[in-house]
């Protein structure tokens, strides 16, 4: 039976344990030891981790594009892709190959270097966010002590890249889209961070693993100790802010099609456009994962303590995915149901309603914690 403790600090230790269990870690380690290059083995294992993560991320992104199209189709009473591959599952692959094969246009008046750099600057942070995400019990690349700060900091990087993209395209629509994206990101990172801090008050730690373990267990035997029940207002604020961070309808100002053609990536084509496209879906996944980690208990679930310890990493991973996809489904559903708000309404909402509410939430949480209501 699983005791509720974290067995391994991160995936590296898990891999080492598995190798040990099979009985091949020692011999390999000895070989490297005799050569005096133990660190090479460590690097190799880390590379394996990263490769697995990368493959997982790309597959997820591809799956998400397919899922998005199917969910839309469901909402709109139609079929969605169904010719290419079984149930249209090969559709994202085909889109990817096609985009690789497209001509890569750099507009004559664009700033060539910045124009080329911008998609990478959007794409790489989108992958970097995956590092401190606890995908399951022991399934984490690196349990940073400042994990939450890292997440918020990295996701705040994308406006810079978007601004670069919009400015370098030398297109008015791109520039306006980029300006909007930056204004939106700045005003929504604050309530995002404030409502996350309220969680930190409970856990006393910025580590994502600590946040998840704090949500293990139940009250009265059936209500899981997820922060959504302690922080309902915080959850709503965080969800709204994170949908704004994702840049999806009702907050998709950076690319609002009916106003700004395609927003900041109007001028991008081929593989560069594909990178924006992928980054958008990587963001969708990672932000949903953060919502799950902070408020929906991450990978924890009341049935985990009844499982044998060996199965826990696997089951917790599945639990995590199910929860994340539920949040993603919500975002997709929302996207195709409501209209887009106007940019000034968005900023009003952010600065005049959400930030005061988030501060109030923080204040009340701090007060209640100090008088010991939650202990």
């Amino acid at each position: 039976m699983w005791t509720g403790d974290i067995m391994f600090a991160n995936a590296y230790e898990l891999i080492v344990f598995i190798l040990n269990f099979i009985g091949i870690y020692e011999p390999i380690n000895n070989i490297f030891k005799t050569l005096g290059i133990e660190y090479v083995l460590r690097i190799i294992i880390v590379f394996i981790e990263i490769a697995v993560l990368l493959v997982f991320a790309l597959l997820t992104i591809m799956f998400l594009t397919w899922m998005e199209r199917k969910v839309v189709a469901m909402v709109q009473a139609r079929y969605g892709p169904m010719v290419t591959g079984p149930r249209g599952l090969l559709q994202p692959v085909m889109d990817g190959i096609k985009l690789i094969g497209k001509e890569d246009i750099i507009p004559a008046k664009a700033d060539r270097w910045v124009f080329t750099l911008a998609p990478f600057l959007v794409f790489i942070p989108a992958l970097l966010i995956f590092i401190p995400l606890p995908f399951g019990e022991s399934l984490i690349i690196s349990d940073l002590k400042v994990g939450l700060l890292y997440l918020i900091a990295i996701s705040a990087l994308s406006p810079i890249a978007i601004l670069l993209a919009g400015w370098s395209s030398n297109n008015k629509y791109s520039l306006m889209g980029a300006m909007r994206a930056v204004a939106q990101d700045i005003s929504y990172t604050i309530p995002l961070a404030l409502s996350a801090i309220a969680i930190v008050l409970f856990t006393g730690s910025l580590s994502t693993v600590d946040i998840v373990t704090a949500q293990n267990g139940t009250w009265f035997g059936f209500i899981p100790k997820w922060f959504i029940f302690l922080q309902p207002l915080g959850f709503i604020l965080f969800l709204i802010a994170s949908i704004a961070e994702m840049g999806r309808i009702p907050f998709d100002f950076q690319e609002s099609e009916q106003e700004l053609v395609a927003g900041f990536f109007t001028e991008y084509s081929g593989i560069k456009f594909a990178m924006f496209f992928l980054a958008e879906y990587a963001h969708l996944f990672s932000v949903s994962a953060i919502v799950v980690t902070l408020f929906l208990g991450g990978w924890s679930f009341p049935i985990l303590p009844y499982l044998p310890a060996v199965l826990v990493p696997l089951v917790s991973f599945v639990v995590f995915l199910v929860k994340t996809y539920a949040v993603i489904f919500f975002a997709m559903w929302l996207r195709h149901t409501v209209p887009r708000v106007r940019i000034d309404q968005l900023l009003n909402l952010g600065w005049k309603i959400m930030i005061p509410l988030a501060l109030l939430n923080l204040l009340v949480t701090g007060f209640l914690l100090t008088v010991g209501v939650f202990k």
Partner: protein, 382 residues
């Protein structure tokens, strides 16, 4: 701080200009300071072509003016010709015409609401709108074999009587639509974001709206209770019980709500038309034609002649099209072809109000206000 005005060129190929319209916007940041509309990208010279065709040959061109609601175009032209030539139409034909007009009004408003919501970013409403539109188009298809460009109403009646099984299908559609409109209201009208985007946007006083030549549902959103069907009754509208839908808020939301109300009202008219549909011929006999029918000189045709010559004269005749006042000014010189056809299209005149309406608003508001004016570019440019 010194600021500079930004010149933005929206269109002619832009997702939310409903075709090939172009806005030249002078922007102060996100605020529109001046809006100039450039049109003519779909100017096809319909009026000139009208002078080259016979009266009957011009009917298909009217289909392609306002291609979303082609029946009212057909009818407006045919009504002008009939007034000019003094042609009388059997009652059944008039009922069938009203049936098509009201059905087409519903279709037009469905497309309008759908594309308005699409412009606001909600892509689902248009799917629902088009789903019901397909049902209506199936009815049109039964009636005249075409989905959009019908060429159905012609001088002297309609081209063919209703096929068998049309009325039951129509009843099915009416019952279905009754329910669907409630669905749309649930999905759209009560939505907070939608209301935030539409209320107090594109406000214009009734006086201004009239002065800028706005007509139809767009004008009725400004508190002017004016409907040509009521004020200058034509066809069988005097026999039908309906009311002109009106709102007083003068903003985009009011203009949108007028459309929803009108769909309900049209369904109400349709029900009455189905109940009152008289028996008889759907086309008048050839008594009024002066030139003989070509191709069959000996046979006594029961059809209205394809070529006929109205007496010399001028007529301006108008109807309440789904978008507003649609009028045809026809000058006849006593030959088989019209001497001059002038089309007074609702979209063109309603569009004049946009630059005034959107001053000081933002691009998203421009799109919202423009969407509620309900413009079709074929109608604007002609």
């Amino acid at each position: 701080m010194k600021t500079d005005e930004l010149l933005i060129n929206m269109g002619p190929v832009h997702p939310s200009t409903h075709g090939v319209l172009r806005f030249k916007l002078t922007m102060d940041g996100e605020i529109i300071r001046n809006c100039e509309i450039v049109m003519g990208y779909l100017h096809r010279g319909t009026e000139k072509l009208g002078e080259m065709k016979t009266y009957m040959q011009f009917v298909p061109y009217t289909d392609r003016l306002d291609y979303i609601s082609a029946f009212p175009n057909n009818y407006a032209y045919v009504k002008a010709v009939e007034e000019l030539a003094g042609i009388e139409v059997p009652l059944r034909a008039e009922y069938i015409r009203v049936l098509t007009l009201e059905l087409n009004r519903i279709v037009n408003h469905l497309v309008m609401i759908g594309s308005l919501l699409l412009d606001l970013g909600a892509s689902t409403m248009i799917m629902y709108g088009f789903r019901e539109r397909e049902n209506a188009l199936a009815l049109f298809d039964m009636l005249c074999g075409a989905r959009m460009t019908f060429n159905y109403i012609k001088p002297g009646g309609v081209r063919e009587d209703m096929p068998e099984g049309f009325i039951p299908k129509l009843n099915e559609f009416i019952n279905d639509m009754d329910m669907r409109i409630d669905d749309y209201e649930q999905l759209v009208s009560g939505n907070e974001i939608f209301m935030g985007r539409m209320k107090n946007i594109g406000v214009m006083s009734a006086q201004d709206a009239i002065n800028y030549g706005m007509t139809g549902p767009s004008l009725r959103g400004h508190g002017v209770n004016y409907d040509i069907r009521k004020m200058e009754p034509y066809s069988v509208y005097p026999d039908l019980d309906f009311k002109a839908c009106m709102r007083r808020e003068c903003d985009s939301f009011a203009r949108y709500m007028v459309r929803i109300d009108e769909m309900r009202e049209s369904l109400h008219i349709l029900k009455q038309v189905v109940d009152q549909m008289p028996q008889g011929k759907a086309e008048t006999h050839a008594k009024y034609g002066i030139a003989p029918m070509t191709g069959a000189p000996t046979a006594v045709s029961t059809y209205f002649p394809r070529i006929f010559t109205p007496p010399p004269g001028e007529v301006y005749s108008r109807i309440e099209a789904p978008k507003g006042e649609l009028g045809f000014y026809i000058v006849s010189d006593g030959t088989i072809k019209p001497y001059r056809i002038k089309i007074r299209s609702p979209s063109f005149c309603n569009l004049t109000a946009i630059p005034k309406m959107v001053e000081g608003l933002m691009i998203p508001d421009l799109i919202a206000a423009f969407g509620t004016i309900d413009v079709v570019l074929g109608d604007v440019d002609r």
